[in-house]
């Protein structure tokens, strides 16, 4: 969105007093923004005097589309919000829908969803840290991180057939059950990941150049973090001890033993360290989860009228055919109350919630997403003020801004 006349006039007035300030465009096409976002910078030499974010380049009306697709169709759109951890978005969306419909998922399903959420957290943090290293100049680090992400994509492929945009969950369950082969792949991945974590830590954790680039840059105080609605690793790096996995246990998190990782400093280095520590905690949760997946059905029963019956039943039995018909006809479908709910999960980036309004039809009347990237990017002008041009990539990387989620 371009700047308004009033703002440009104000800029000119300011320029009259500070003729030495340069105006520079950062983005929307810049390798370090990784996606499309634009910053208008006011530079005093190499120092950033002001940064005006300009977003909306990737706005695609996801919330409007949510009003015309039904609860199961919209999951494909949630994939495209934070495409670094698509299954987390799937889980968040269907958790909100199930809360609206009053569906209680089976224990097996909640374990599977926990496992994929934690895999996605590792994947998201690996990308965030890898890209941050890349922008700062540590290309090897990026390769190590992306190599491990590749294994996660392989697991996704074995789990549901898709590597990138998975659309794995369904109302009342998941697309297909987890197999022993996938469980074994996750076990192997965890063993491999130990070495990757070690490598990553030894490459940059105490690297003098890297630490100097991050320490004391983009400091966010605890009060500011709360006041500006921060959540997730960004808030925890500033000392806000808030983790929805512990505070509002959803899915199967109440069964597992894990720590909430926090730091006090609130600078880019603290955010880096919190993400590293969270990956170790995710591995701890995964270890406990894959060994204890409960037996039993993965989807809720047909009497809940939410899950399509398996194709074999539809083709060979009249009951299967009827329940399939009841679900897919536009005037039948799931029983939806005229109510509204908000449900949130602790996504890799922070609190990811959906506010869903039902009006009796099988479509959401309103499907609002609470995007953590949007809220964290609003911090940026304040975090970068007074730092140098080269610190922009460090701060952007530490906030993990995903423009598709930012603009939706």
């Amino acid at each position: 969105m371009p700047l308004t006349l009033s703002e440009l006039a104000a800029d000119h007035a300011e320029e009259g007093m500070q003729p030495y300030l340069w105006t520079m465009n950062f983005g929307p096409q810049h390798p370090a923004t990784h996606t499309t976002l634009r910053l208008v910078l006011k530079l005093d030499g190499e120092r950033v005097a002001a940064a005006i974010p300009d977003i909306g380049y990737l706005h695609s009306g996801f919330e409007k589309i949510g009003e015309s697709l039904d609860f199961n169709q919209y999951v494909t759109v949630t994939d495209r919000m934070n495409y670094i951890s698509p299954m987390s978005n799937n889980v968040a969306w269907h958790m909100a829908v199930e809360k609206l419909l009053g569906i209680e998922i089976t224990p097996r399903c909640s374990y599977i969803r926990t496992i994929i959420c934690e895999l996605m957290r590792i994947s998201d943090h690996l990308l965030c840290l890898g890209a941050m290293g890349l922008d700062i100049g540590a290309l090897t680090y990026f390769m190590y991180a992306f190599n491990a992400r590749e294994t996660i994509y392989d697991i996704c492929e074995a789990l549901c057939g898709a590597r990138f945009t998975n659309s794995y969950t369904r109302v009342g369950g998941v697309m297909c059950d987890i197999t022993p082969q996938v469980v074994q792949m996750i076990r192997d991945f965890l063993a491999e990941m130990l070495k990757v974590m070690d490598d990553l830590d030894r490459l940059l954790g105490r690297n003098r150049i890297f630490v100097d680039r991050l320490q004391g840059v983009g400091v966010l105080s605890k009060e500011e973090a709360i006041n500006r609605s921060c959540s997730g690793p960004v808030a925890r790096a500033s000392g806000v001890v808030r983790d929805l996995r512990r505070d509002e246990p959803h899915l199967a998190y109440a069964d597992f033993d894990f720590d909430v990782c926090c730091a006090r400093e609130g600078d880019c280095l603290a955010r880096y360290q919190v993400r590293m520590a969270e990956m170790a905690e995710s591995m701890k949760i995964l270890h406990q989860a894959v060994e204890n997946i409960p037996a039993g059905p993965v989807n809720v029963g047909p009497d809940r009228r939410s899950i399509l019956p398996p194709p074999g039943k539809v083709w060979t039995t009249i009951e299967g055919l009827i329940s399939h018909f009841e679900l897919v006809m536009p005037n039948r479908g799931m029983p939806v109350p005229c109510e509204e709910v908000y449900a949130a999960i602790e996504a890799p980036n922070g609190e990811l919630g959906f506010y869903v309004v039902g009006d009796g039809s099988p479509r959401a009347y309103r499907a609002r997403c609470r995007p953590p990237s949007f809220i964290h990017f609003a911090l940026f002008p304040q975090l970068i003020r007074g730092h140098t041009l080269s610190d922009i990539v460090a701060v952007l990387g530490s906030l993990n801004i995903i423009a598709a989620e930012l603009d939706r």
Binding site: E7, R228, S229, C230, V341, D359, Y365
Partner: protein, 176 residues
């Protein structure tokens, strides 16, 4: 303090003492569904209620501000419903505040003074629904282009748009 006591103290501070109606229909109206407590607050009192919740009851975090357009919604009386999702980082409680506003000129007092995080959230609601936030320091469109005139998430705005994309000015090679 449990959520019921907070809601009761809201009733005492902001309820209408003259009404004499049973508490359920008194202002503010409180409902609870699936473990979430929702409080409906009149638009002119919304800022004061939110300020009291932040300063006295520990709701120090504004999780989200969003809006729902209730055009043709079954049983709806008001056009727009603003939704403030609050959370307490120390108390761990959540509360939903709903404020109904109507056309023409739907507007409500901005809460940027209470939570800095409301800045972009209110800009997004203005951009998508056209609800004015009085006292907002920088109420511009945030996702849509500045020259856009409609409010796309209103229910009377069609999914495929009003042809804005087709009417973009075409710049030829000679002109550029």
């Amino acid at each position: 303090m449990p959520i019921e006591e907070i809601v009761n103290s809201l009733r005492v501070s902001f309820g209408d003492p003259q009404a004499g109606a049973p508490p359920a229909s008194a202002v503010p109206i409180v409902t609870s569904w699936r473990g979430t407590t929702r409080v409906v607050v009149p638009a002119e009192k919304s800022y004061d209620v939110l300020a009291a919740l932040k300063q006295q009851h520990g709701f120090d975090m504004l999780v989200d501000i969003t809006c729902v357009d209730y055009l043709n919604y079954p049983g709806a009386r008001d056009r727009f419903g603003l939704v403030y999702l609050l959370a307490g980082t120390e108390t761990g409680l959540r509360l939903t505040i709903r404020v109904f506003v109507n056309e023409p000129e739907p507007s409500v007092r901005s809460v940027v003074g209470l939570w800095e995080g409301a800045n972009w959230l209110e800009r997004e609601v203005w951009d998508m629904f056209g609800i004015r936030f009085q006292g907002h320091p920088d109420l511009r469109r945030i996702l849509m282009p500045e020259e856009f005139t409609a409010f796309p998430l209103r229910k009377d705005y069609p999914l495929q748009g009003l042809g804005e994309r087709h009417n973009f000015p075409v710049l030829t090679r000679g002109e550029s």
